[in-house]
Amino acid sequence: MVRRRPRAVAAKAVAVVAAMSVLVLAILASGCRAPAGRTAAPAPEQKEVILATTTSAQDSGLLDVLLPMFESQTGYQVKVLAGGSGQALAMAEQGEVDVVLAHSPAKEKGIVDAGIGLGRRPVMHNDFIVVGTSDDPAGVKAAAAAVADPGDGRAAAAFKSIAGGQAPFISRGDQSGTHVKELDIWKAAGVAPAGQPWYQECGAGMAQALKIASEKGAYTLADRGTFLALRDTLALVILCAGDPVLTNRYSVLQVNPERFDRVNGPGGKALADFLVSPVAREVIRPFGVDRFGEPLFYPDSE
């Protein structure tokens, strides 16, 4: 027997639940913000600053130290997007981010020349290294050591011996700063690796590329910071380093607010200025020494 009253009440309950859900969603959509009470400085007009950076800068943990300092000093809220340098600069070209911290100098210069990037300044540097298995089938270590003066094409010699030995090589393949550097070295070595069976493009981040190289017993080009962080989990050793072409330079640039009116000009400038400030320099200088025995980055701003 169907009893009328409880059923009617139940039907109304369903309608109320549905309405409440929509209401909750609307409230959440409008009210979502970071936990308050973190900033001491007065809140500026456009609080949000979007920083596009590379995974190597983000994964080192350096930004996790620097950015909270910036936020408490200025009251800006920084949102970090980590991807490859290619992605970061592409987003800059669309005005979707305010500041870029990348390590792809040629592309960065292109952005500045196009009037989209402003105030490009060096922040820090470290270096790239060629790594591979300790038994080194292609003789990379010997080839690199044979070049007495490192600036005389030591990295290119290393790459040439990899190509010559048809040894497996893992490439980032993702237009990141590391990938671009790798392509430059192949060019200097006079090798066209694309499409060759020993050349494998993985389209993944640095840590994963290293892992793949370790699993497959292959060579790869890596930034020293990521390699140091993962060294214990990898079956790889450093085979070639010290060539000036392997220097890995990180620069900061702002996206031009006159080209894109939705870009946070003052916020972007404040963050860019902060990253090259003496305060930031003194954070970068000792960073990583306690964990790895050597600093991960060398500050460039003077």
Partner: protein, 232 residues
């Protein structure tokens, strides 16, 4: 084998110690996916019921689109939602990108077709004579719906669980529209991917275990509700 064991040990340690960051990530995961599922149910159940009961011209076309939605690749949803929410996108003025709200939108978009299609199938499975009988007994529209939903509750609960499962397991879209930002939009799935990318495998395994536990507890609660014996 060592990595797996380390991962399990790490998961225990994180939970027992009450690691603030992990708790925050887990809480955000529940909040975002729970809200998205709630929204998908609030809209999807009435919609699916309507599609199941009402015949109209072009119904089959609509049904096929809904069924397509069930197989929608999450990364596609993430890409399109982020394009719409970009500063210079059509909904950029909402400033939703890289907030939990954007993740709720993406996850709800994924869960909605699942809930709708399964509800529609559940309703269509009911004996048409039941509908006639309920109407013949003088049920009003809300009473009629309530009766149908009670009859189909097993399948409806399955629809809710499937919707929640789709939402909570989402990583590609959540990464794209949320940005995996520390303290703001980092959830268990995006954190797991990040830790893998960083090479912290023990932590990644620990996070994945925590995610499985949470997903299991929610589904367990829903299953108990689903399998509860009817009052005699």
């Amino acid at each position: 084998m060592g990595v797996i064991w380390n991962g399990i040990v790490e998961a225990m340690r994180l939970l027992v110690r009450g690691d603030v960051e992990v708790l925050r990530i887990a809480a955000l995961t529940l909040r975002v996916s729970g809200t998205a599922t709630l929204f998908a149910v609030a809209v999807g159940v009435p919609l699916g019921t309507a599609l199941g009961l009402v015949s109209f011209r072009g119904r089959r076309a609509v049904v096929s689109v809904v069924n397509l939605g069930m197989g929608l690749p999450p990364v596609v949803v993430g890409l399109w939602v982020s394009i719409f929410l970009w500063r210079y996108g059509p909904f950029g003025f909402l400033h939703l990108l890289y907030t939990p709200a954007a993740m709720i939108v993406a996850q709800a978009t994924l869960a909605l077709p699942i809930v709708t299609a399964l509800t529609m199938a559940a309703v269509q499975q009911l004996d048409p004579r039941l509908r006639l009988q309920v109407l013949a007994l003088g049920a009003s529209r809300p009473q009629f719906l309530w009766c149908l939903w009670r009859e189909a509750r097993f399948s409806l609960m399955a629809a809710v669980m499937a919707g929640f499962g789709g939402a909570v397991s989402e990583v590609g879209a959540s990464m794209m529209v949320g940005g995996n930002m520390l303290g703001r939009t980092r959830v268990l799935t995006t954190a797991t991917v990040m830790e893998v990318a960083r090479g912290n495998y023990a932590l990644a395994i620990a996070l994945s275990i925590i995610l499985l536990v949470i997903a299991y507890l929610v589904v367990l609660a829903l299953t108990l509700a689903q399998q509860r014996r009817r009052p005699a």
